[in-house]
């Protein structure tokens, strides 16, 4: 299969994730969408690594996975602490920083 196929799948996944971040108001779902975007990028990294016979893409994938795991930990902690203080987690309600 040509590399284009992988890239099309990757682009589709990325778009789904981006739309998810923009339209959903539940932070948990938004997080999942962000994961989707990250993994879409991972997919394109792997595809290029395979077709270019380079190991660099692999390394980026591991890096992205690690960062994603750390980000989820921090993000979930923030969400839990927001829920404990405000008893709701609708992101549109969290607009205290309005100018």
């Amino acid at each position: 299969m040509p590399v284009t196929a992988y890239l099309i799948v990757s682009a589709l996944l990325f778009t789904i994730g981006a739309i998810g971040v923009l339209v959903r108001r539940n932070p948990l779902v938004m997080f999942m969408s962000i994961e989707l975007m990250l993994n879409a990028v991972n997919l394109s990294f792997m595809a290029f690594a395979h077709f270019l016979n380079s190991v660099d893409g692999w390394m980026f994938v591991f890096l992205v996975l690690t960062v994603a795991a750390a980000e989820v930990v921090v993000g979930l902690a923030i969400i839990v602490s927001i829920f404990r203080t405000r008893h709701e987690i609708d992101v549109d309600e969290l607009n205290t920083l309005k100018g």
Partner: protein, 664 residues
């Protein structure tokens, strides 16, 4: 030789710092102990220095301590140097000795004041700066002390800072003193440019060698002096500007009468005994420079004589007892300058010491009267206090007799010394001007006896003319109308003892400077290079001068007795134009107000309305409004919705992507 000067300086400084930082928390007992203790210790050290100095030969009575170098800039190198010589020793004795007595007096006088700790802290600061002024071994450190005493004076005149008049007086004193500081600064520049040094030791004893001639100004051997004596005259005149401002001489005298707004111990210490004499000290210290310029000495003599007469005439009509003493101080300072102008630098310093005793005593006694009458200072509302305040009365009389130069009190000898020096100068010089100056001295002496005994008779004799005096600490009128003075009491021990000591000094303080045994003149000779020791005793001229000196004071007292020693002396306003002129102090304040103050304040008002309010005020607020309006629009972008920001990020990322696709 023993030189304890650094410790004499350090003690009051430590007292100032300790009281300034911790005074608020300390009990009054501790404040009094620290405040007076440090000055007493400094006085003990000054006495030790003085005794050690007497033990060595006159030529060896100089020593300099230079702990470190203070300023290095190009060829200018100024050590932090403290000088111990006969002149500074005498000055330190007066500053710390009289200063200590006034500290003790203040314990009683300021007992009820909430700013007790602040007062003693400022007094210690004053003693420190004054000691620095007289102990400096170069002109730059002199300037530091010079400015420091101005600051201490400012703080103490404005001590009761809730009174607008006190604040105005403090500001006036500071502004006039800064004129003098400026003169001193210019003199320092010129001295450095001419001689290349600011050290007294190399300046006044080294390169400039004083060769005492038989009479006349000493010959100075310095290359700069032979080339242009105009420079020396300029230096001397600039120094005298500083001296005149500090010592309240014409035309820079206007601050001293107003300075009486300060507490009475301050008037006694700063505005009678010590600070105002700094000008006399400066002229004596720079005697080598002044002696080299007959023009400058003539100016000193004219200004001193004019001030002596001018202030004495004003003192004759003043009603506020402290103001009478203030004008008297100006007049006596003029006397000191007269003596110095005639070449008798030690006679000026001698009068400085005796004046410190009797004028401090007079101020303290006036303070005791004011204290007893619960703050009254107008002699029209006094009278008949002799029965209630017998000890204060007799101390006042002693001070008055000394001031009026009645034989054999201290003031007689010092005033006679000055007159004798002026007469000697007139005899050797042959100039009419010196004879005129001598005449001015005699007239002033008569006026002095008159105004001080007008004050004493008005306050203590006759019948009481004021309101009933309220009980101490109580407010409202006294309850007993039959005896309005029922609550009047003599002051307590802490105030009486310093007055008695000064009273004794006022009586005997002149015996170290009689014409037959001029101990102080001989002692000061190495420092002041006095070329004129007065008329030698024994000649016919001496006898007639002495006789004139004997009668002038009593003549003035007799006139005062004839006019004011009655039951109801007339203090009513007079229509006599001369009296009106004197009551308005020759309209000098009004003149300065019209010539200097009003133009400056109107220019200031113009700038304030035009520049400050118009340009800077509206300009800066307009700039603020522009920025504020812009940010009011921009803050709409900050919606607070996380998804809006996410959308903005995506749109931005998409635009960047499009850009790279279009421009590969």
């Amino acid at each position: 030789m023993l030189n304890l000067t650094p410790y004499i300086l350090l003690l009051p400084l430590a007292g100032f710092v300790a009281l300034g930082l911790l005074g608020r928390a300390l009990p009054r007992m501790a404040i009094s102990l620290i405040g007076c203790g440090v000055v007493l210790a400094a006085f003990a050290l000054a006495v030790a220095d003085f005794i050690a100095m007497l033990g060595v030969a006159p030529d060896a009575r100089f020593s300099i301590v230079q702990p470190w170098t203070w300023v290095i800039s190009g060829s200018l190198k100024i050590p932090f140097g403290l000088l111990s010589d006969p002149l500074s020793a005498v000055m330190l004795l007066i500053v710390t000795g009289v200063g200590f007595l006034i500290h003790v007096y203040s314990i009683g006088y300021m007992a009820d004041d909430p700013g007790y700790w602040r007062f003693f802290s400022f007094l210690n600061l004053f003693i420190f700066t004054m000691a620095l002024l007289v102990a400096a071994d170069n002109f730059l450190m002199l300037l530091v002390g010079w400015g420091g005493v101005g600051l201490a004076s400012f703080l103490l005149i404005g001590f009761w800072y809730t009174r607008p008049s006190a604040v105005a007086a403090a500001r006036k004193a500071f502004v006039v003193n800064v004129i003098g500081d400026f003169g001193l600064l210019l003199a320092i520049f010129l001295i450095f440019k001419t001689f290349g040094t600011l050290q007294y030791s190399s300046l006044l004893r080294g390169p400039i060698l004083i060769i005492p001639s038989t009479f006349g100004p000493p010959v100075l051997s310095h290359p700069a002096l032979s080339t242009s004596s105009a420079t020396i005259t300029a230096i001397a005149l600039l120094l005298f500007v500083a001296a005149a401002a500090k010592s309240a001489q014409l035309p820079l005298h206007v601050w001293l009468p107003d300075a009486m707004e300060g507490p009475t111990p301050v008037s006694a210490l700063i505005h009678a005994a010590t600070m105002v004499t700094a000008g006399v000290y400066l002229v004596a210290r720079a005697s080598a420079i002044f002696s080299a310029s007959p023009t400058a000495l003539a100016v000193v003599g004219i200004v001193g004589g004019a001030t002596a007469l001018f202030a004495a005439t004003i003192a004759c009509v003043q009603m506020d007892i402290k103001r009478v003493l203030a004008y008297s101080t100006m007049s006596q300072l003029g006397y000191m300058f007269m003596g110095e102008a005639a070449g008798g630098f030690s006679s000026g310093i001698f009068h400085l010491t005796t004046h410190a005793y009797f004028k401090a005593l007079l101020f303290m006694a006036a303070g005791a009267v004011i204290h007893a009458l619960a703050g009254e200072q107008d002699m029209r509302k006094m009278g008949g206090l002799r029965a209630k305040l017998p000890r204060t009365f007799w101390l006042f009389v002693i001070g008055g007799l000394a001031l009026a130069a009645v034989f054999p009190l201290s003031g007689f000898w010092s005033k006679d010394g000055i007159l004798s020096v002026v007469l000697e100068r007139a005899r050797t010089d042959g100039g009419t001007g010196w004879y005129v100056l001598y005449g001015v001295g005699l007239v002033t002496a008569i006026l002095t006896g008159f105004y001080i005994f007008r004050l004493i008779f008005g306050v203590f004799l006759g019948t009481y003319r004021g309101e009933p005096v309220a009980a101490h600490g109580a407010h409202g009128a006294a309850d007993d109308a039959r005896d309005p003075l029922r609550n009047v009491r003599e002051v307590g021990t802490t105030m009486m003892v310093p007055m008695v000591i000064l009273g004794i000094l006022s009586v005997i303080g002149g015996f170290y400077g009689t014409p037959w045994n001029d101990a102080i003149g001989t002692f000061l000779e190495p420092s002041t290079h006095t070329v004129n020791m007065g008329i030698p005793p024994g000649s016919g001229l001496f006898l007639s001068g002495f006789a004139l000196g004997l009668v002038t004071g009593p003549i003035g007292i007799a006139i005062a007795w004839a006019l004011y020693a009655r039951r109801q002396p007339r203090f009513a306003p007079s229509r006599n134009p001369l009296v009106v002129l004197l009551q308005h102090k020759y309209y000098i304040d009004e003149l300065y107000n019209a010539v200097f103050v009003v133009p400056v304040t109107s220019i200031g008002a113009l700038w304030r309305i035009g520049l400050e309010d118009g340009l800077f005020g509206r300009g800066s607020s307009g700039l603020g409004q522009v920025v504020g309006g812009m940010s009011k629009g921009l803050r709409r972008l900050q919606t607070g919705y996380a998804r809006n920001y996410a959308l903005a990020i995506f749109i931005g990322a998409a635009l960047i992507l499009v850009y790279f696709v279009v421009h590969p």
